[in-house]
């Protein structure tokens, strides 16, 4: 039995291609998304190692230099290296987006479970509240929250998280209502199982699959919202390295033709969002496969 890296890699590749044959194109979409995400996450994790310069360093080279051998993505007006700011910026955007998604999901799922299971007036009131928030333009609500709170990573995450809670709520509540009617739930209630057990043991596991897909889409959306907020100057202080803020700053130099200031941050935001979206799309097809077609 060989355990050399080549065989292990070969096995992984073989497993991948087999799943690809079984699930078709959707599997490769998922893989593509996953590769992008892993790439960016690694970039964020190993930022201090891979970045050629310190992102705060204001003396890395000439001001507003176009991309070249010294600075692969050029420099900005404060003589900072754009590439390094891109690499470090990944940490901010990923951190905020994922934190926000986790907050939203925990709150939304638990509220959905409780409200759906409890039913009655309590459920009606909560649903109305959630529906109202859901129908309201998310970004505008996030702008309002971000404007009212002190700029900072936690606060911007809260501002972003708030607008996705209704999505999880509606999804989980809907499924809770259906599952609640199932015979095995009635049986559990008949033998005296408390609500918390029913919710955690019976309903929650059934909800997980769809929630996973929503989670990835949530992160994709949160990425866009975070970037939008910081682009508008809200949510984060200037001391943090962030793609959205760099875009806002670079905007001023557009008429004078320094395209690299906005092209790279914008492209990265798009890429990361596309990565999570593709992961979500692939995941949703695989978890709900359309079995009868090739």
């Amino acid at each position: 039995m060989q355990h050399s890296p080549t065989t292990a890699l070969g096995q992984v590749i073989r497993r991948f291609t087999r799943m690809g044959k079984q699930y078709g194109v959707e599997w490769w979409i998922l893989v593509a998304g996953a590769i992008v995400i892993v790439g960016v996450v690694s970039m964020a994790m190993f930022a201090p190692v891979i970045a050629p310069y310190n992102p705060y360093d204001q003396e890395t080279g000439p001001q507003l230099a176009p991309p070249g051998s010294e600075h692969l993505m050029g420099t900005d007006n404060l003589q900072r290296d754009v590439l390094s700011r891109i690499i470090f910026g990944a940490r901010t955007i990923l951190g905020v987006a994922i934190l926000a998604a986790i907050l939203s999901s925990i709150l939304g799922i638990s509220m959905g479970l409780i409200s759906g299971y409890a039913g009655g007036g309590f459920d009606k009131v909560f649903s109305l509240m959630m529906d109202s928030i859901y129908s309201f333009p998310g970004l505008i609500l996030a702008i309002a929250f971000a404007a009212m709170l002190e700029p900072g990573v936690t606060n911007i995450s809260i501002a972003v998280a708030v607008i996705y809670i209704p999505t999880y709520f509606r999804l989980v509540r809907g499924q809770t209502l259906t599952i609640k009617q199932e015979l095995y739930v009635e049986a559990a209630r008949a033998i005296g199982a408390p609500g918390s057990t029913i919710m955690s043991k019976y309903i929650f596991p059934n909800v997980i699959a769809t929630t996973a897909v929503v989670f990835t889409m949530n992160v994709a959306d949160a990425i866009m919202t975070e970037a939008a907020l910081t682009f508008l100057g809200l949510g984060l202080p200037p001391s943090v390295v962030d793609w959205g803020m760099d875009l806002a700053m670079g905007k001023k130099f557009l008429p004078s033709g320094q395209w690299w200031l906005i092209t790279f941050p914008g492209a990265m935001i798009s890429l990361l969002a596309v990565g999570f979206t593709m992961l979500g799309e692939g995941l949703s097809e695989i978890l709900n496969p359309r079995l009868l077609e090739k």
Partner: protein, 338 residues
């Protein structure tokens, strides 16, 4: 028709509680958040007594419940208060800026549907082909492109380098909007005034912002249309129609698409919300004098009454559009009213 009327009334009544909830949330957000608006307004270094006096003036010392009640009453009277910063009523400011946003979002939605729906239908028809995956990829990517980034890129390429389109504002400097301004919807106004030159100018200013916003949002419509079309194409009545010898294109683009369009309409209410969010970003990028840019302006200026007023208006618009969409839905799908 009687059924339709009954439906409209019922549906309108439903709007009230939703609006109520939204307005309450706005109230809470603006008032119960940290940060003292009054001291910010007075410059941050005013003495205690002055701050207290100002608060008294503005009625901010009353118990919250009373403030809440008076807030709701004011809204019913369409009195949104006065701006804290500038000498205008919030209402007049909004009346100024709202039409600009309406015009922008209207044409953007038009472009969005003109691009998104046919592409989605085509993709569904050619399921699992290269065209299908290509269109879906386009849909995903275009939606993930930040609308302000696309705006900036288009400004750069088409506005600065190629100099075809203007990159800011609704009209050029030489066109005086006061000569035709009636409703604030410039396309309409210039037509009514018979001013062709102004109409051309207004339209050309609309191109970049509306195309930017419309394209980005088309991604959603592509996915939506495609998903609904796939379901509809499996339906028995499509098979039955095919068995009658009806041409494929007619099957897809008349029978199927119409049926698929109905659920898309119901989603329209949601799309309007996304549209408005996108409008805020688009207006900022293109210096478009609408509600979105107003909101941000006033956030920087800490003008709380105006901020609140803008959000309230957005909430009312959302509720109204949702109502209108549901009514149109009932009109198209006869199953709902009989």
């Amino acid at each position: 028709m009687k059924n339709l009327l009954r439906y409209i009334i019922g549906r309108t009544l439903l709007t009230v509680p939703m609006l109520f909830v939204l307005l309450s949330i706005v109230f809470v957000v603006v008032r119960v958040m940290p940060g003292d608006p009054v001291s910010a307004m007075l410059g941050g270094h005013a003495p205690e007594k002055v701050i207290e006096q100002k608060k008294q003036e503005l009625g901010l010392n009353r118990p919250l419940i009373v403030q809440y009640g008076s807030y709701l009453l004011q809204i019913c009277r369409l009195d949104l208060g006065d701006s804290m910063i500038l000498k205008q009523t919030v209402m007049s400011t909004l009346r100024d800026k709202l039409p600009a946003t309406v015009e922008l979002t209207f044409f953007a939605m038009l472009i969005c549907m003109l691009v998104g729906v046919p592409l989605g239908a085509y993709a569904a028809d050619k399921r699992r082909s290269a065209q299908d995956y290509g269109i879906r990829l386009y849909g995903i990517v275009i939606y993930c492109i930040p609308v302000y980034w696309l705006g900036l890129m288009l400004q750069m390429i088409l506005g600065v380098w190629l100099d075809i389109f203007p990159i800011a504002g609704r009209t050029s400097a030489r066109i005086f909007s006061s000569t035709f301004d009636r409703t604030g919807l410039y396309v309409l106004d210039t037509i009514l005034a018979g001013n062709v030159e102004a109409l051309g100018d207004v339209l050309i200013h609309l191109v970049l912002p509306c195309v930017t916003l419309g394209l980005v949002l088309s991604g959603i419509f592509i996915r939506l249309t495609r998903a609904n079309m796939l379901d509809v194409l499996k339906a028995d009545y499509i098979l039955a129609a095919e068995a009658r010898g009806i041409h494929h294109r007619r099957l897809v683009y008349k029978h199927a698409l119409l049926n698929a369009f109905v659920p898309i309409l119901t989603m329209m209410g949601l799309q309007v919300a996304i549209l408005m969010a996108g409008a805020v970003l688009t207006e900022t990028t293109f210096s478009w004098p609408g509600m979105g840019r107003l909101l941000l302006e006033r956030i920087y200026l800490r003008d709380y009454p105006t901020i609140q007023g803008v959000i309230v208006v957005f909430a009312i618009i959302v509720a109204l559009i949702s109502l209108v969409v549901d009514v149109i839905y009932a009109f198209i799908d006869p199953r709902l009213r009989y």
